[in-house]
Amino acid sequence: MDDWLLFLHVLAAFLLVITVVMYSAVALGGTLGGRATFIADRCWDVGGLGTLILGVWLALKLDEYGIFDGWIIGALVLWLVATGLGETVRKRTAEVRDGDGTVTTGAVTTLHWVRTLTVLALLVLMIWKPGA
C-alpha cells in the first residue's frame, strides 16, 4: 500500500515537470497548440493535487516522517508558491497569447522560470529531506 502511494506521488511529480517542460518550450520561443497547452495545464492540475494529497497521506502514514517536520512544512510552502505561480503563468499566458500561440511578455516568462526554480527546490527537499 505504502509503495503504491509513493509510486502515485512520484508519478504526480512527473506530471508537474511535464507542465514545466512544456511551458519552458514556450518560454524559449516555441509554439504550443491549443491541445498541447490543454494537456500541459491538466498535468499541472492533476500533478499538483496528486503530490499534495498523496504527500500528506504518506507523511501521516509513515512512522519515520511527521506532518510537522521542517522539510515537509517547507515542501508545503513551496507547493503553495508553485501553485500560485503556475496559476498566474497559465492566466497571463492565455491573456498575452497572440495568433500563433507565442508568449510575448517577458514578465510571464520570468514568472515561469521562477515557478521552475520552485519546482526544482521542491525536488531538492524531497531528495535530501533535511532534518529527517
Binding site: 512520484v10 515537470v17 517542460v21 516555441g30 504550443l32 491541445r35 498541447a36 526544482l120
Partner: protein
C-alpha cells in the same frame, strides 16, 4: 551522497517531460518542435539519467549484490531498450521536418514515443515500489 540520485530523478523527469512535449508537438503537426524536443531535450536527458543511474548503482554498492534485485534489472532494461526507440523517433521526426509533412513518419514517431512512455511508467513503478 544524494546528489547522484537527485541528478537521476531530475533528468528522468526532464526526459519524460520532453517526450510528452515531442509527442504533443508531432501530434499537432509541429514536427520542428517535436524534433528539437527529442534532439535537444530527450537525448541529453537520457544520457544524464543513465550516467547518474550508474553513479547511484556504484555509490550504493549494488554492483556487489548478486543476484541483482529485479527493480534494478527493470530499470536498466527499460532505459537501454528505449534509447534505441528515442533515436528512431528522432530520425523519423527529422525526416518529417525535411519533407515538410508527417504522413507515416508522424504515426511512427507517435507509436515509438507511446512505447517509450509506457516503458517509463513501468520503470517509475519499479523504481518506487522496488519489487524483488
Amino acid at each position: 551522497m544524494k546528489f547522484p540520485l537527485f541528478l537521476h530523478v531530475l533528468s528522468a523527469m526532464a526526459l519524460v517531460g520532453t517526450l510528452v512535449l515531442a509527442a504533443t508537438s508531432v501530434a499537432a503537426d509541429n514536427h520542428r518542435l517535436g524534433y528539437r524536443a527529442l534532439l535537444w531535450g530527450a537525448i541529453p536527458s537520457w544520457i544524464v539519467m543513465r550516467v547518474a543511474a550508474q553513479w547511484v548503482f556504484s555509490e550504493q554498492g549494488w554492483d556487489d549484490v548478486d543476484p541483482e534485485p529485479a527493480w534494478i534489472g527493470i530499470g536498466f532494461a527499460t532505459s537501454e531498450s528505449t534509447f534505441l526507440l528515442i533515436i528512431a523517433a528522432t530520425v523519423c521526426a527529422w525526416r518529417a521536418v525535411k519533407r515538410g509533412r508527417g504522413d507515416g513518419l508522424r504515426t511512427a514517431v507517435l507509436v515509438l514515443l507511446a512505447l517509450v512512455l509506457v516503458a517509463y511508467l513501468v520503470a517509475i513503478w519499479a523504481m518506487t515500489t522496488k519489487p524483488t
